[in-house]
Subunit: 481 residues, 2 copies
Amino acid sequence: MEENNNNNFVEAITDKSVDFKRWYTDVIIAAQLADYSPIKGCMVIRPYGCSLWENMKRFLDKKIKDTGHENAYFPLFVPESLLAKEAEHIKGFAPEVAWVTHAGQEKLEERLAIRPTSEAIIGSMYAKWIDSWRDLPILINQWANVVRWEKVTRPFLRTTEFLWQEGHTVHRTEEEAEEETLKMLEVYKDFMENDLAIPVYIGRKTEREKFAGALRTYSLEALMSDGKALQAGTSHNLGQYFAKVFNITFQDMDGERKFAWQTSWGVSTRLIGALIMVHGDDSGLIMPPKVAPIQAVVLPIWGNKTLEGAVEAKVKEVGEILADVCRFKVDDRREHTVGWKFNEWELRGVPLRIEVGPRDIEKNQVVLVRRDVRKKEFVPIEKLKDKVTELLNEIQKNLFEKARKFRDNNTREATNFEELSSMVESKQGFIKACWCGSEDCEMKIKEKTMATIRCIPFEQKNGKCVMCGKNGPMVYFAKSY
Amino acid sequence: MEENNNNNFVEAITDKSVDFKRWYTDVIIAAQLADYSPIKGCMVIRPYGCSLWENMKRFLDKKIKDTGHENAYFPLFVPESLLAKEAEHIKGFAPEVAWVTHAGQEKLEERLAIRPTSEAIIGSMYAKWIDSWRDLPILINQWANVVRWEKVTRPFLRTTEFLWQEGHTVHRTEEEAEEETLKMLEVYKDFMENDLAIPVYIGRKTEREKFAGALRTYSLEALMSDGKALQAGTSHNLGQYFAKVFNITFQDMDGERKFAWQTSWGVSTRLIGALIMVHGDDSGLIMPPKVAPIQAVVLPIWGNKTLEGAVEAKVKEVGEILADVCRFKVDDRREHTVGWKFNEWELRGVPLRIEVGPRDIEKNQVVLVRRDVRKKEFVPIEKLKDKVTELLNEIQKNLFEKARKFRDNNTREATNFEELSSMVESKQGFIKACWCGSEDCEMKIKEKTMATIRCIPFEQKNGKCVMCGKNGPMVYFAKSY
């Protein structure tokens, strides 16, 4: 783990095609997004990864607020008695819960769970806060850390502690709750596609795959560049399940006391894993400009001693031009060669490289190199500002289009089980196939192919179940993370 | 705790002069800043309190970044063996540590502490990341939740779980570490005085009061309006203590391997408690405009039915004018009277109230009422934009000046122990008195008066210790939270 001191770390990255899993962790460690910690399954999010997460948070937080939600913060702990109130939910989370049993030298009277999710603690507060239909809807979101004890962990994709947001809303009617659930699914889609440049399929989860305690779960499914699917976010219509467990009632307009309708929805630092696996290549990360910690890196190329002053002055000028245009960094370190720096900033996925060398000064230009397509352009200084803005927009669009094409090219249709099975084995990707709706067929397909139903899309198309032949909807199958 | 449903909640607030402690919690609950949770000592930060914290974070985070620091995120857990590595530090925190002993059904091989602070976990990572003087300085900050099991808790002031930022930096030399420690003390002072309008005294803590493991601790001390002091933030020069414990070494320019020098510094949600106690009055909160969740509330006063449309149109116009000027809210609820709304928004401390009534429409004006001095002004619509900006600035300044005067008027000088003792008893506030520097005298004074040394200011003035008569510096004494 000597990534700081290894001058050849770029070469140390495994090729994607050779070992995708190793490529993934190599990139994370070498680009200093995260590092392993002394606690099994917990990672350290290093400044570069943290800055990426902050940018992602800023975009998503704005969208969450623009749709009428407010942030709040609830306790890290959930008393065991509170968590145990709802049998179905606890069954889903019990094996993963970390328990606090002692404080200082003393044993606690009651064990405290570290929140694996906050339905229970938030539900107990909502019961206290809600009295009348006038108190509804409650539209609250929380940015927090949660803990789930996982057997197998991987940086960002599955860690014991992770960061996320969890929305928890309460409504007067079932229709309102369903509307909210679908609205947030659309907010996530907008965020993933337009800010992270990750195309997603959306749809409903099967009964088997839905959130413990939910009426319906909807999810966003993205395709990683190794052909496996990743669940990128979920939005749950919780129905009245938690309302009944925690006694969340309100006096309705008609004077009657009724149970409220709830939703919850969340995305996590897992999205960073998705971003890496969708856009990265053998040279390392490729950051979508909108959320990139550094959008452009400026590299002075010193040339001979007599011109150094001129290069320095030009770099300063470039910095002044870029000040209001993008997040940039000047890398004028003397201890590294220019070639080393090219590799480093490619590895870290900075969308634009701006080179300023002695020859460019004469011509009053700079050299711009795009990370995504590696195209090189000579740009006159007076056009730099507009060009940078234009290229960052173009890179953002290109990354999305490239990922969308890959996803579309790797979405195939199977009309029978043999086709489905051979597609899963040979090509991976998403496979559209019909399914009768029974858990029995769902499980049989999973056992035989390792593929699961990722979601049931909204655009319904019916046909014969590839397993039993009964009529049912077309769904997305895939092997997944 | 029926704050949601009590139409007369303003009257329910205890007067400050009658019972300051109750006034404090009444305000928090009634203004919906926070609420008690089912977990002893843990509070829920409600949307209004969370929005305040977010605004505070935004200002402070910018200042932290502008001074060259980057954010990162380290694990919530600290293995017992890691925490136990340094005897002095663990001694300070052991009684307050919450321990995770089980995950799912299984007992953990090693207990995990929930971070009470992160020196240990961060130090272990720094040891891994730092190799050469070129890797220094490391300037990292973390926004996180921490847990300290407190016997007596109070919302914001002392809670089992709280939110904070903790900066952790590593330097090549002792001088650099000291410079950093003092720089962050100044950053905090700037933040508290200019953004929160809370005047602070700064200085060094005594050996007895310094952070467990630190070389020197500096603190910021604010005066609450009940005359008690509150430690609002601390900045520690950690020396080489943790570097030696966690083996954080680097190869220096001279080729020698040396232990690094460290600092750490933090402020927490406790500052919200300070903000309440410094600015609030018998009617409730008074928010400093810069961090106020809502800077202005617009209240339509309907008058008779025929004019309602005109009032509504004018309120809309006001909203358009304010859009880029401030964070505002239109309260057009029909179920509450105007008087009730006046009380509610005073209670919640909104700096400016803007009334739009039928008579104002004729004159094309609105009524502006300041929360701090309750001054009423009629403002022509065309001047509204400038006036709101001007008044928000004025309120911010006035709150600071008022608090500074109160603090200055309640800072007294004592030349002997009797004076000190009677001042503590009768008037509270800060008392400047000389102290020889011995823990013995420090403890004697504390035992006899309940006052502690808050800090030793930088401007040294010497005199005779009020306890033993030996020569020593003038320091600030006070009873404190």
